[in-house]
């Protein structure tokens, strides 16, 4: 059972590392350009000759 004290300590430390990592990631603007990739993927699959007929609308 003693192993649980170690496990709790390790878990708390692990959780703290992830929390710090997450806060750092947000502050460091890791998640900032979140517009272009999801929108770009919508536009790329029409066959070449039908490109003009593409009426895909994105609001």
């Amino acid at each position: 059972m003693n192993i649980f004290y170690l496990l709790i300590g390790v878990s708390l430390f692990g959780a703290l590392v992830f929390l710090v990592l997450f806060i750092w990631a947000v502050k460091d603007k890791q998640f900032d350009d979140d517009k272009t990739p999801p929108i770009r993927m919508l536009f790329d699959d029409e066959p070449a000759e039908e490109k003009e007929n593409d009426t895909t609308e994105v609001k």
Binding site: M1, I3, F4, L7, S11, F22, A25, D28, K29, Q30, F31, D32, D33, D34, K35, P37, P38, I39, R40, M41, L42, D44, D45, P47, A48, T56, E57, V58, K59
Partner: protein, 813 residues
């Protein structure tokens, strides 16, 4: 800048789509066959190749690797080329991938039906096929990562992160779980033993769910849902966070398949903790999927593909909430070994995986064939019939699980199990199995509608096998400018580095659990009394594996009173150190067998009973749904391979004496002769060289080493109770009759006229006497070695007197 011409490979996509449709129908059809087998044992067809134990792995493998596998590849090959604006890296690899995968599927179906299996769930295939899988999988990975390298867009879209994680994850899992020592072309022993084997297997098993049924499907969701809804994914931020946290956390969750079982507490605790944490990233995916439809819900009304995708994502949310709940130890008492798990996986499999596949196909096939879907109405019909089918399948099984669990743990006011005969708890839930057949059939009907609809669509349109498109050349951005680009953004345009980091994140969880289990000795305390299997027992064990007995019988008594009363002493880690592979099982359609060899224990049956039961289970228990195994008495034990098996086990660390392999066959024959003599005493003539003898030997090995010797000689026999007279009122006789029907009829027949070698109670011949004292003592203490069970732990003194009274006075002479 001049655009470059790109030629998309549509042919491979089409091949994968066709394979998805064919194997999907096969997989569901086989599922309906095994559902019928569980309801009506006649559907085992009396052939060794078609028993439930062999067909069930065909169903699971066909659905996971053939249907879902081909669908993943179709979706990946279509979306990757378009997302990266390039053809797949290598046509040769694409071809090898497709045909190699189909070959694996055919080999799997054939070998599983022939009884070649490792018995590790969803990894049953034997070592030559394992090697082939590894080769094809690596071809897929090289093809995919190669494609990311030759791409024409700067950043790799989120869907492809999931594809990469799928490749890396499955590669790690498959290789680590498949370490086995070959004995012949079709037989190998797992390198791990007992609890270690269990930890590795369920780390694999759970992450087969994660990296074959979840991550590729999240990838498909990230592509096909925005495409079908014509809306960008709700939050790209969320996709970054939930990607990394999901792939990291999943790899730790495996031990939740082994709660309360013979596993160190710390492993179980880790499994539970990480399973509960998994709600967060899983729901990240669900939220991202559902919120993508903000402002587009009107489209769901009109398009069947969106209906399927919505139900899929919703089912994903439900299953990923249910899963963590099932991983909580207390809840797991109920859900493990019952139909709850079956219902859970079918909600996930049919609604989440099925839904994404159906939605994807309804969207992709018309696109690929440059036409409209043949019939939107038919697709809607498919949607409703499939969705209702899923509910009709799953809800009765949840009901069945609760019913069976409540019955198994029900005690009488006197403190005995209320339903000591396991079969009672099974016959109670059989009506639910009828609903399962109906639900599955509805799902299949829907599937046929889709195949018809898509075939018509394909016929109406025309696919360009080599589709032309134009895309600008990729200008390499080079090193990262910390001011302009975040690290993750940078990583999104460095696919090889991305794959390596994904590998590291994925490897941590498994390493933390598996390495200490394998190398720290204190995790597996040994038990002095546990001896290696004799050659005959080993031959029997290999037959047990080959027949797929583990599909219905567990060998794992959990430490609950209602399990130890029913089966015997709870299971301990040290019992399994010679088990390559482990046979703990995951669903009890039949009773646990871990204590089948404990003489005097509640699960013990003598050789004659086993013989008759293998030959015809319904003769022993009319309502039993176990298939008959008459070929066990016809087929010979393969003696030629015995020395090789002993040598292999010795190599794996089983302490057989030096040179034992040379005398192993003699040892086997000696032990077989003893069993044959035992059968002879019960009036059965058996050939010592037949497989049934080995099976009986194995049954009698189970749990024997850790049990204390039973009171078989008169010196240790419990004192006789003297009974003057038996209760004789009509009420007593009625009570006695009821008990007789429940407990005695399975051996002595419903009318007491005896079954097979079990004595007739209505004639004048009484082996142990027919005075009240004799009969009461026979029932109380039994004659375990002869096959008469003791009932003192199942019945009160009063009940024993009642059933004795019924036996003497109530049975028709």
């Amino acid at each position: 800048m001049e655009d470059q011409k790109v030629i998309y490979d549509n042919k491979t996509v089409k091949l994968f789509i066709l394979a998805t449709l064919v194997w999907g129908i096969v997989g569901v059809l086989v599922g309906i066959v095994i559902a019928l087998q569980l309801r009506f044992p006649a559907f085992n067809f009396g052939l060794e190749f078609t028993t439930f134990g062999r067909v069930r792995p065909v169903h699971t493998n066909a659905i996971i690797f053939a249907f879902v596998g081909n669908a993943i590849f179709a979706g990946v090959y279509y979306s990757m080329q378009r997302l990266l604006k390039t053809r797949m890296f290598s046509d040769l690899l694409s071809k090898f991938h497709f045909w190699g995968w189909q070959l694996i599927i055919v080999l799997a179906a054939v070998t599983l039906l022939l009884g070649f299996t490792t018995s590790k769930e969803y990894a049953e295939l034997e070592w030559p096929i394992d090697i082939l899988i590894a080769l094809v999988w690596v071809a897929f990975g090289v093809n995919m990562i190669g494609t990311t390298v030759i791409r024409r867009v700067q950043h790799i879209y989120a869907a492809i992160w999931w594809y990469i994680a799928t490749f890396v994850g499955v590669a790690i899992l498959h290789i680590v779980n498949s370490f086995e020592l070959p004995i012949s072309l079709f037989k190998s022993y797992s390198l791990y033993a007992g609890a270690q084997d269990a930890v590795v297997q369920w780390w694999y098993g759970h992450n087969a769910v994660a990296f074959f049924l979840t991550t590729p499907f999240l990838g498909l969701m990230y592509y096909y849902l925005p495409k079908a809804a014509e809306r960008p994914i709700y939050s790209y931020k969320l996709s970054i966070i939930h990607f990394w946290s999901l792939i990291f956390l999943y790899m730790w969750a495996g031990p939740h398949h082994l709660l309360y079982q013979a596993l160190p507490d710390w492993t179980q605790a880790l499994g539970v903790t990480f399973s509960v944490m998994l709600i967060a990233p899983s729901w990240g995916g669900m939220i991202n999927g559902l919120l993508t439809l903000r402002g587009a819900w009107d489209k769901v009304r009109d398009k069947a593909e969106l209906k399927f995708l919505v139900v899929a994502v919703t089912a994903y949310g439900m299953s990923t909430f249910e899963g963590p709940m099932m991983s909580i130890k207390f809840v797991n008492q109920l859900t493990h070994f019952t139909d709850w798990t079956i219902a859970h996986v079918h909600i996930a499999g049919m609604a989440w995986n099925g839904g994404i596949v159906f939605g994807m196909l309804y969207w992709m096939v018309p696109k690929l064939f440059r036409t409209k879907l043949y019939s939107e109405k038919l697709a809607n019909a498919h949607f409703w019939i499939a969705t209702l089918g899923i509910l009709i399948y799953a809800i009765p099984l949840y009901w069945s699980a609760i019913t069976q669990w409540l019955m198994l743990r029900e005690y009488t006011p006197e403190g005995f199990l209320a339903y000591p005969n396991f079969l009672e708890t099974l016959t109670q839930i059989l009506p639910m199995y009828t609903f399962r057949i109906i639900g599955g059939t509805m799902f299949l009907i829907g599937f046929f509608l889709m195949v018809f609809n898509l075939a018509k669509t394909m016929k109406a349109g025309s696919m360009v096998a080599q589709e032309e498109a134009y895309a600008p050349v990729l200008v390499e951005l080079g090193a990262r400018d910390p001011k302009k680009e975040s690290m993750h953004r940078f990583l999104e345009r460095r696919s090889v580095r991305f794959s390596v980091i994904a590998f590291i994140v994925l490897a941590i969880g498994g390493a933390v659990e598996i390495i200490p289990m394998t190398f720290v000795k204190s995790n597996v305390p040994t038990i002095e009394a546990v001896k290696p299997y004799t050659p005959l027992e080993l031959a029997g064990r290999d037959l047990y594996v080959s027949e797929g007995c583990y599909n219905c019988h567990s060998q794992m008594v959990r430490p609950f009173r209602w399990e130890t009363d029913r089966y015997g002493e709870y299971s301990k880690i040290g019992e399994f150190v010679y088990d390559h592979p482990f046979q703990w099982g995951s669903r009890r359609t039949g009773p646990d067998l871990a204590r089948a060899g404990v003489i005097g224990g509640p699960m013990y049956k003598n050789a004659a009973w086993h013989y008759n039961h293998f030959m015809d289970p319904q003769k022993m228990n009319e309502q039993s749904i176990m298939p008959k195994y008459p070929w066990l008495a016809e087929k010979n034990i393969d003696l030629d391979i015995i020395p090789a098996k002993i040598r292999a086990m010795k190599k794996l660390g089983v302490p057989y004496p030096e040179g034992f392999d040379k005398i192993a066959v003699d040892d086997l024959k000696k032990q077989a002769a003893v069993i044959v003599a035992d059968l002879k005493a019960s009036g059965i003539t058996a050939d010592p060289g037949k497989q049934i003898i080995a099976m009986i030997a194995y049954m009698h090995k189970l749990g024997r080493d850790i049990s204390t010797p039973a009171a078989s000689d008169s010196a240790n026999a419990p004192a006789k109770v003297v009974v003057e007279s038996l209760p004789n009122t009509p009420a007593d006789l009625t009570a006695g009759k009821e008990i007789f029907g429940k407990l005695c009829a399975s051996c002595h027949g419903p009318e007491g006229k005896g079954l097979a070698t079990f004595p007739n109670l209505t004639d004048d011949e009484w082996i142990h006497g027919n005075t009240p004292t004799d009969v009461v003592n026979t029932i109380t203490n039994g004659y375990p070695v002869k096959g008469m069970l003791p009932f003192k732990n199942q019945l009160t003194e009063q009940q024993i007197k009642q059933v004795a009274s019924f036996t003497l006075n109530g049975l028709k002479k």
